[in-house]
């Protein structure tokens, strides 16, 4: 295991967790993002190169939680709360106050490792596809599989498979269009 990584710009008095890898030219605003992080996976969080993890982003991972973020991704204050696997493809953009969670009543993992009755930890992985765009305050739940290039509207609630290039909005969310519709 390599020596603890301390972000040179950090104000929060902690190194990054040992099982977190942040790629070349990527930016993480602070180790504060790992305030509730309890992943014991070999790679709890892997961020690719040229990606930005900005202020207000949190990785509230349970002991089995795993997050993989690609290259050229932007997270401007999203909360990822999972004890399962979340994959975010290259060029994806997650806007302000987005929550990616195992269940609709997702919680940070408890300090003592005990589980709240509200957390259903038998959840399926979540995939946020390459070059997709998740709008502000959207909620991405277990079962969501967002196809490449799709757009999720602000505050939409998504727990289903979104085809590549679809535009999804509302609560309950539905497909309201396609990204290539207006190009011709």
């Amino acid at each position: 295991m390599s020596a603890a990584t301390i972000l040179s710009h950090d104000w929060f008095p902690r190194p990054l967790p040992d099982n977190v890898v942040i790629g070349a030219r990527s930016w993480c605003y602070s180790s504060y993002a790992f305030l509730h992080y309890r992943s014991r996976r070999e790679r709890g969080v892997r961020v690719g190169s040229d990606s930005g993890i900005y202020h207000g982003t949190f990785f509230d991972l349970g002991p089995d939680g795993e997050v993989e973020i690609g290259n050229f991704c932007t997270l401007v204050g999203s909360i990822i709360s999972t004890n399962s696997r979340v994959t975010i493809g290259n060029y994806a953009f997650l806007a302000h106050e987005v929550v990616v969670g195992d269940s609709s009543v997702a919680l940070p993992p408890a300090a003592n490792g005990s589980e709240s009755v509200a957390n259903d930890r038998r959840q399926r992985a979540i995939v946020i596809g390459e070059n997709s765009w998740v709008g502000a305050r959207a909620v991405i739940l277990s079962g969501a599989n967002i196809g490449p290039g799709a757009i999720i509207g602000a505050a939409a609630i998504v727990d289903f498979e979104v085809p590549a290039g679809a535009i999804v909005a509302g609560n309950p969310a539905r497909i309201v269009g396609w990204v290539n519709e207006n190009r011709n």
Partner: protein
């Protein structure tokens, strides 16, 4: 080195968290967990008490007690408040073992008048150099969330709503009407999504 932040470290980053430094009209039960001082940044209640937390209540970093001078909030034993933003002008009461997830707003008032003329006066009083004491009165209707209810990510609970015992509110729901005990509500506006007549 994963895990929640330790007490000493926590004091270091908050500039010395001290439960005694809470507003005097806040009552905190035994073994509560309050993650951040910022949860009280907009606590302005002058009621006695203005906020009551039962025993073993967990208050995570995103929770805010935005309580007006006239407001009072009560939270029962063993509740978990992850990201509950309370906007309280009169009364919000939460029972025991209630779970509130990320980015939830619970408001007992709309905080601005509906009438356009009144709203103009409100805007003037709220201007950067305005006189806030001249704000027109607002309507408040108490919110009650009963024991064992769960409130999903990003839900909004509006004034006058009573959420019954053991009810479930789905992610992103906007709740404008009472939720019966044991029922599951979702959507905007929220409606019942489980079978009716289900006994809790």
């Amino acid at each position: 080195m994963s895990g929640l932040i330790g007490e000493n470290e926590f004091k270091a980053i908050t500039g010395g968290w001290d439960y005694a430094a809470l507003p005097k009209n806040v009552r905190v039960g035994a073994d509560c967990f309050l993650e951040r001082r910022d949860s009280f940044k907009r606590f302005r209640s002058t009621r006695e008490p203005g906020l009551t937390l039962g025993d073993r209540v967990k208050v995570y970093t995103w929770t805010e007690f935005n309580i007006e001078p006239s407001g009072a909030v009560e939270v029962g034993d063993d509740c978990t408040l992850v990201g509950a933003v309370f906007m309280c002008a009169e009364s919000i009461r939460i029972g025991k073992r209630v779970v509130v997830s990320y980015n939830v707003t619970i408001a007992d008032s709309d905080f601005h008048p509906h009438d356009p003329e009144q709203r103009k006066l409100d805007a003037i009083a709220n201007a950067p150099e305005g006189d806030r004491s001249q704000r027109p009165p607002v309507i408040a209707k108490p919110v009650v969330i009963e024991d064992d209810a769960w409130i999903g990510i990003g839900a909004i609970i509006l004034k006058g709503v009573r959420i019954g015992r053991g009810a479930r509110v789905g992610a992103g729901a906007v709740v404008t009407k009472d939720v019966p005990a044991g029922a599951t509500f979702a959507g905007n506006p929220a409606r019942r999504v489980d079978a009716e007549n289900k006994t809790p």
